[in-house]
Symmetry: C2
Subunit: 228 residues, 2 copies
């Protein structure tokens, strides 16, 4: 039996946060006649967090939060054409090509010979499924788990469902909060590969001396695993 | 080992389509100064179908489709306050109490003694999870599968994942298209319990002489299963 090795998706296998950043820049441009950038960013961030309990993660909720923020920041003066632009910004994000990060396709191909590869991602089910399909990476994964939150309980449920002992489980991802800390808390191992952007909601204070390896690129992963 | 018995959720275990109908009535009221009801309904339905490929199923996508339809039907003249009302209609739907249909809680309790109960539902992951939690019915189900589409392939994947033979599987639901026909196609059994409303997208021509039982209420389910 191959040993299980799990990957996060967004910003670990393919670009994601950079699409949000581009969209947010277009959103700022739309509202620049009304407010300065810092204020627009702060209000959008507040609206997103307030709406997480209604919408969960994903582009549709982000689009609705942009619309709400735009109305708030313009005191309802943004016209129909402006709102339509925001709706289209969301649709454009959903239609963006899914670009695997450098080295991802080769490394997954190589590791699939000696590991049973899993994908564990949070967010919108429909959106994540279509992204995986469009990425062309789907065939490498024997198991795909899309969850609404990646906390200790969610990982414990996944491991139990597949009969995996924590001691035999390794998770690879870009988010210390979602991919690393809850996995370590279960007694499993985790490998951090940072992305150059992190959504403010995912930022946590790094533990003093990180008790997990940090890689610069997924290309360094096979050598690290071989050393274990 | 208990025999598997699977249930659809929306409009099988709790009211759902009636919430859409109420929301759509409020949406009509907002646009009545511009168009007649039939035209509003027709345009909203078209927008929803066109957007299914972008948004998938669920309330967030429906809300974005209402916004798009409102802008289209008013030629962008709907003002910010009007758009805000549509956003709030969507949020109100997400916050609606989840009301189990009559008899559901008792029947699930009874059947859980002799069957391994599964929930198989399509739609927005976050939304369906919070509805199940709010319904108070979660403890009856040993397995919960939330999928983006309920077709033959999706059911086949679920059965394989849980090691269930089609001949030993029974599905109960309100949608002939999503709960009955794909299950019968796999060689499993399905029981239809219609809800008084059906979303236009889910309506299919009923087979001439329905090769599946149709119950008026879930209260009749234990007796039917006992007769098999």
């Amino acid at each position: 039996m191959l040993r299980p090795l799990a990957f996060d998706a967004d910003d670990t296998l393919w670009h994601n946060e950079s699409h949000y950043a581009e969209t947010q820049e277009a959103f700022r441009a739309l509202l620049r006649p009304y407010h300065d950038d810092a204020w627009i960013d702060a209000r959008l961030h507040d609206t997103e967090l307030r709406n997480l309990g209604h919408y969960g993660y994903g582009i549709k909720g982000f689009t609705l939060s942009m619309i709400e923020t735009a109305l708030e920041l313009t005191e309802d003066r943004l016209d129909g054409a402006g709102i339509r632009q925001v709706v289209e910004l969301g649709k454009a994000m959903l239609a963006k090509p899914v670009e695997p990060l450098p080295g991802v396709a080769e490394v997954l191909q190589e590791l699939s010979n000696s590991y049973d590869l899993m994908l564990i991602t949070k967010g919108d089910l429909f959106d994540q499924e279509t992204k995986l399909a469009r990425s062309g990476l789907g065939t490498h994964f024997s198991k795909v788990e899309i969850v609404s939150e990646k906390d200790e309980g969610a990982y414990a449920a996944i491991l139990e469902r597949h009969g995996i002992r924590p001691a035999g489980f390794i998770m690879v991802g870009n988010s210390v909060k979602s991919d690393i800390l809850p996995v370590l808390a279960l007694g499993a191992r985790a490998i951090h590969i940072p992305y150059h952007l992190t959504w403010a909601h995912e930022v946590v204070a790094a533990p003093g001396d990180a008790p997990f390896p940090v890689l610069e690129t997924i290309r360094d992963l096979p050598a690290l695993l071989a050393s274990w």
